[in-house]
C-alpha cells in the first residue's frame, strides 16, 4: 500500500515537473513552432535573419484563424549601466503580438510590460540587480549591426520580470521590434516567427504544412526540435519509470513473501489438518495465491485511495517547493509543482501490484505444500 502511494505520487509529481518544464519553456520563450532562415538554429546571428518576411507572413496567414503568431529580431549584445555590463540576448518584439504567444508579460513583477514607446526595455530583476538598476533608469544596449559597425541605443527600464528559470532571466532583455531593427540597421528583418496553434495538438500538422508552403531556405522547428533535451528527458522518464515500477514490485514481492510466509507459519497447524482431511496440494497452493491476490487488490485500492486524496487537492493548488526553489528554478520547472497523474500510471499500478503480490506468494505457497500433515498435527 505504501508502495502504491509512493509510486503514484512520485510519478505524478515527476511527470508534472517535466511537463511544467516543457510548457514553461514553450510558454515563456519558445512557443510551439518557430520559423527561421536556414542556419539560424546553429548560428543565431543577424546574418541569419529573414529579409523577405512577407513570404513567411503569407504562408502563416493561411492558418491565421487557428494560430497566434509573433515576430522577433534577436541578437547577442551588451547591456550596460554606469556600474556594470552584461552579455544578453536582446530580443526585439511586437509587445501586443508577443502577449498572444508567450507568457513573458505575466512574469513582470515590477513596473510594466513594454508599451510601444521606442526607448523602453524590460529585463529580469537579477540583471537589474547586477547592473544596479531601478525602474526608470537608463541603460545602453549595444550590438553589431548588419553592416558590421556597432549599433547602440539608450533605453529606459520600464519593467522587471522574473520567470521560473534563473538561467533564462540572466540572459534575456526585451525591446520593441522597430527599435531593434533601427539599432541594428536591419529594417524589416526578422530572426524568428513564432507560431502557436490554438490547439497545441495540431503543432505537427501545422509545422508540416508551413514547411511545404515555404520556399527552400527556411527552417520550421517545433518545440520538440527546439527543446530536444527536455523532450528527451520526458521520453527517458517514461522509460525509467518502468525501472521504478520494477523496484516497487520487487519491494512488494519481498513484503508479500514475508507476510504470506508468516501467514503460512501461523497456520501450519490448520493447513496440516486441511491436508489430513483431504485438501490437495494444488488447492492449498491456489488458496494461498488467491489470498495474496486479494491482499494485493486491497492494498492497491487503499493505496490509490490515499494517493488520490493527496493528489486531487495538490493538482489544483500545486505543491509549493519553495524550500528547494533554488535548484528547481535552475532547471526551469518553477517552484510550484502541479502533479499530473496519467491514466497509464493508474493502469500500471492496478495491474502490476496484484500480480507482484501473487508472484510473492509463490514461495510461501510452495512451503505450505511441503508441510507434512503428520508432523503438524503431532505438534498439537
Amino acid at each position: 500500500m505504501i508502495g502504491v502511494i509512493a509510486l503514484v505520487l512520485t510519478d505524478a509529481i515527476s511527470i508534472g515537473m517535466m511537463q511544467q518544464m516543457l510548457t514553461n519553456q514553450i510558454g515563456a520563450d519558445a512557443g510551439y513552432i518557430q520559423i527561421h532562415r536556414k542556419g539560424f538554429q546553429t548560428d543565431p546571428s543577424l546574418k541569419n535573419s529573414i529579409s523577405n518576411a512577407s513570404t513567411v507572413k503569407a504562408a502563416i496567414s493561411k492558418d491565421a484563424a487557428s494560430c497566434k503568431t509573433s515576430e522577433r529580431l534577436r541578437t547577442f549584445g551588451l547591456v550596460s549601466s554606469a556600474y556594470n555590463s552584461s552579455g544578453v540576448s536582446i530580443v526585439g518584439i511586437v509587445p501586443d503580438d508577443e502577449k498572444d504567444v508567450t507568457t513573458i508579460h505575466k512574469y513582470v513583477v515590477k513596473g510594466s510590460y513594454l508599451r510601444d514607446n521606442p526607448d523602453e526595455i524590460i529585463m529580469s530583476t537579477s540583471t537589474a540587480d547586477k547592473l544596479r538598476l531601478e525602474l526608470g533608469d537608463k541603460v545602453v544596449i549595444m550590438a553589431s549591426r548588419v553592416d558590421g559597425s556597432v549599433g547602440s541605443e539608450a533605453c529606459r527600464v520600464v519593467g522587471l520580470f522574473e520567470t521560473y528559470d534563473s538561467g533564462f532571466d540572466q540572459t534575456h532583455v526585451y525591446i520593441p521590434l522597430t527599435t531593434a531593427q533601427d539599432m541594428l540597421g536591419a529594417p524589416g528583418r526578422i530572426s524568428e516567427f513564432v507560431v502557436n496553434p490554438v490547439n497545441p495538438e495540431r503543432t505537427e500538422t501545422v509545422a508540416r504544412r508551413l514547411e511545404a508552403d515555404l520556399p527552400a531556405g527556411f527552417e520550421v522547428l517545433t518545440f520538440k526540435q527546439m527543446l530536444p533535451i527536455l523532450v528527451m528527458q520526458l521520453r527517458l522518464y517514461d522509460q525509467t519509470i518502468y525501472i521504478f515500477y520494477a523496484i516497487i514490485a520487487i519491494a512488494l514481492i519481498f513484503g508479500i513473501v514475508n507476510t504470506m510466509l508468516m501467514a503460512v507459519i501461523e497456520r501450519t497447524h490448520e493447513l496440516g489438518v486441511d491436508m489430513a482431511i483431504g485438501m490437495s496440494n494444488r488447492r492449498i497452493f491456489r488458496m494461498i495465491l488467491t489470498e495474496a491476490f486479494y491482499l494485493g487488490i486491497i492494498g492497491t485500492a487503499a493505496g490509490l485511495a490515499v494517493s488520490l486524496a493527496v493528489y486531487v487537492p495538490l493538482s489544483r493548488s500545486g505543491w509549493d517547493l519553495a524550500m528547494f526553489s533554488e535548484s528547481l528554478n535552475s532547471i526551469g520547472a518553477g517552484t510550484i509543482i502541479y502533479p499530473v497523474l496519467k491514466a497509464t500510471t493508474l493502469i500500471n499500478t492496478i495491474v502490476i501490484i496484484p500480480l507482484a503480490a501473487v508472484a510473492g506468494a509463490v514461495y510461501p505457497a510452495l512451503r505450505a505444500v511441503k508441510l507434512q500433515p503428520v508432523e503438524t498435527i503431532r505438534m498439537s
Binding site: 482431511i277 498435527i377 498439537s380
Partner: protein, 235 residues
C-alpha cells in the same frame, strides 16, 4: 480370528514396520503388524503410551508411510498412489477425528462440517442441508453458527465427528478421540459413535487408554512395543 472376509476388507495391513529416527537413533515404532478391518467393524486399539497406536492409525490413514510392509485400502495398495491421489482417498474414503479436535478456529461449526464437502465439490445448498442435518443428528444443531472456541470439548468433538462423516467415508479413524474429555462426556461420545456404527453402518477404528471407552468396542486390539499382542471380538 475369523474376522477376515478378505474380499471385502476395507483395510488390510501386511507386515508393516515403522522405524523413526530420533536424532539418528532408530526407534522401532511398529514391528510387523498384520491386520484387517471389515465393513461395520467398531474396533479399538489399546495399549500403553508409546506402543505405536498413533503411528498405526496415521499409516492406515495414509498420513504416514510404513518403512516396510504394505497397506491396502479397499484392496488398493496405497504405496502406488501419488500425494494427490492420497489426498483424494482421504477426502472421499476416510474420516478423521483427532484428539485435539483440530477444527478450523475461524470457521463456524457448520462451516467446518461443510469444508470437507466443499473440497469434494458438493454444491452450497446441499452442503448446508447435510451439514445442519448432521449437527442435528449429533445433538448440536443449535451450535451450528458458533465458533470452536465458543464450544466445550465434547461439543467440538461432535463437530469433528460430523466433519469426519460428512463425505460418507468407508472408514472413520479416531486417535484418542476422548482423551481430552471427562469420562461422562467420553461415554456419551462413544454411544454416539456406536449409534452411527449401528444405524449407518460406518466403520470405526479408534485408539484409547480409557477402560470405559475400551469396554464399548466390539473388537479389541492391544498393541505392545509395536506389535499386536491381542486381537479379539468382545461384544
Amino acid at each position: 480370528m475369523d474376522t477376515e472376509k478378505s474380499s471385502s476388507n476395507i483395510v488390510r495391513v501386511e507386515g508393516v514396520r515403522k522405524v523413526y529416527h530420533d536424532n539418528g537413533v532408530p526407534v522401532d515404532a511398529l514391528r510387523g503388524i498384520n491386520l484387517t478391518v471389515s465393513p461395520g467393524d467398531f474396533s479399538v486399539i489399546a495399549g500403553p503410551s508409546g506402543s505405536g497406536k498413533t503411528t498405526l492409525l496415521n499409516i492406515v490413514g495414509t498420513l504416514d508411510k510404513p518403512t516396510e510392509g504394505k497397506v491396502f485400502l479397499d484392496g488398493e495398495d496405497i504405496a502406488s498412489k501419488t500425494r494427490r491421489q492420497l489426498a483424494d482417498i482421504r477426502l472421499r474414503k476416510i474420516g478423521f477425528v483427532f484428539q485435539a479436535y483440530n477444527l478450523n478456529p475461524v470457521l463456524s461449526a457448520l462451516e467446518n462440517v461443510e469444508f470437507t464437502m466443499m473440497l469434494r465439490g458438493v454444491e452450497a445448498a446441499e452442503r448446508k442441508r447435510k451439514g445442519l442435518a448432521l449437527l442435528e443428528e449429533l445433538g448440536i444443531g443449535e451450535l451450528a453458527h458458533k465458533r470452536p472456541n465458543e464450544m466445550s470439548g465434547g461439543q467440538q468433538q461432535r463437530v469433528a465427528i460430523a466433519r469426519a462423516i460428512s463425505n460418507d467415508p468407508r472408514l472413520v479413524l479416531a486417535d484418542e478421540p476422548t482423551a481430552n474429555l471427562d469420562s461422562e462426556t467420553a461415554v456419551r461420545l462413544l454411544e454416539l459413535m456406536e449409534r452411527l456404527n449401528h444405524h449407518d453402518g460406518i466403520t470405526f477404528v479408534f485408539s484409547s487408554h480409557d477402560p470405559q471407552v475400551i469396554g464399548r468396542a466390539h473388537r479389541l486390539l492391544i498393541l505392545k512395543d509395536g506389535q499386536i499382542a491381542t486381537d479379539k471380538i468382545v461384544q
